[in-house]
Symmetry: C2
Subunit: 215 residues, 2 copies
């Protein structure tokens, strides 16, 4: 073994800023999931990361900025991947595109406990903190518009005269939020796969020619 190693708790080692930042953000996510937003302290975060107390301020200036970076880390990833599905032209047909959206929204990666905990911890405070609100909803308008467009195309293709694309998109977005929340708080009552079946049923009943209620 070399003189320094990361997993060896004794020696310390200078590492690039980016590595330390991600290490601290991951530790913050764990702390939020374990103790809630109000239970997060610099001491807990840095201990979780296996580093010393002062390091978070060194890399992030303040606790507030560390928390904002953590929220951004979680949302940026989701927004990027969702956008790429909604804007892709590589799916063989619209049904496949919607199917991909559904699989994505209830994939293990997206519904990972730590991420969901971070997401809803901040949403719970968002109303009183404009900064949180901005980060949470930055992408939302765009995403809602893209989804409405996709649903509109499906409606025209399938000739569903009674379906309203805008309301259906708003409903899907809200339904996914609600399912995530229920899955997070009571995974026994609503396991991930049941949540996905519920969302599928929603889409199937809006677009019966495109989506079937069972996979």
């Amino acid at each position: 073994m070399t003189k320094n190693s990361n997993s060896d708790g004794k020696t310390r080692r200078a590492l690039p800023k980016e590595v330390r930042k991600e290490q601290l953000i991951r530790a913050t996510m764990k702390c939020i999931a374990r103790s809630g937003l109000s239970g997060v302290t610099m001491a807990r975060v840095t201990t979780e990361a296996g580093l010393s107390l002062g390091i978070a301020n060194l890399h992030f200036e303040s606790k507030e900025k560390l928390l904002l970076a953590t929220l951004q880390y979680v949302t940026a990833e989701y927004n990027r991947d969702q956008k790429s599905i909604l804007e892709s032209r590589d799916y063989p047909n619209l049904a496949a595109q919607i199917e991909a959206l559904l699989q994505f929204d209830f994939s293990a990666a997206v519904t990972e406990k730590n991420k969901m905990a971070v997401w809803f911890a901040f949403l719970g405070e968002a109303k009183s903190r404009p900064t949180y609100q901005r980060i949470c909803s930055r992408q939302d308008s765009t995403s809602e518009a893209l989804m409405t467009g996709l649903f509109q195309a499906v409606i025209e293709e399938g000739a569903y005269p009674d379906t309203n694309a805008e309301l259906t998109a708003a409903g899907y977005i809200a339904l996914v939020d609600g399912l995530w929340l229920n899955t997070l708080v009571a995974p026994r009552r609503l396991p991930r796969k049941k949540a996905r079946r519920v969302a599928r049923q929603y889409l199937a009943s809006a677009f019966p020619q495109h989506i079937s209620p069972e996979f």
Copy 2:
């Protein structure tokens, strides 16, 4: 004017415990809505209530118990009224009962900003605090069961062979949660009445013979 009066900020007056408790709970709700759960301090709550610092501990023993009482105040009211709709046998038919549920869930009283803020502030911390979780979900299983029963009756009456009562109930519950959350965080994008139209569309597409998509 008598020697003492409530609205006169100078004199103080002894009032029954119950009155003070409610006064403090209401002040706590306002504080949570204004500054989030983590921004609530005893000083802020008691100032908001127009009382002195020590009074909250006098009536509630601790901050934690004041917060729990506030959460309970909000949930108890909702659970009581929802239960009475779901268990009532006074509606002329099943369609009217579902209609009542919908009107209730998006009534101004239920979707009042302060109540929603309290609800989601606690849900955001619920995963890490078993006590919050217990209060939030105490009634949920019962309510889900009652709703599944109601939907099952509707399915039999309307002969909807492809609709699953359990999934539809789970979906409705999640959809309402998600709509509330979106309305709370971005009332511009999703005003209360649009949220209700979305929920109505959900029910209309599940039970087309009973509920119409427009009111």
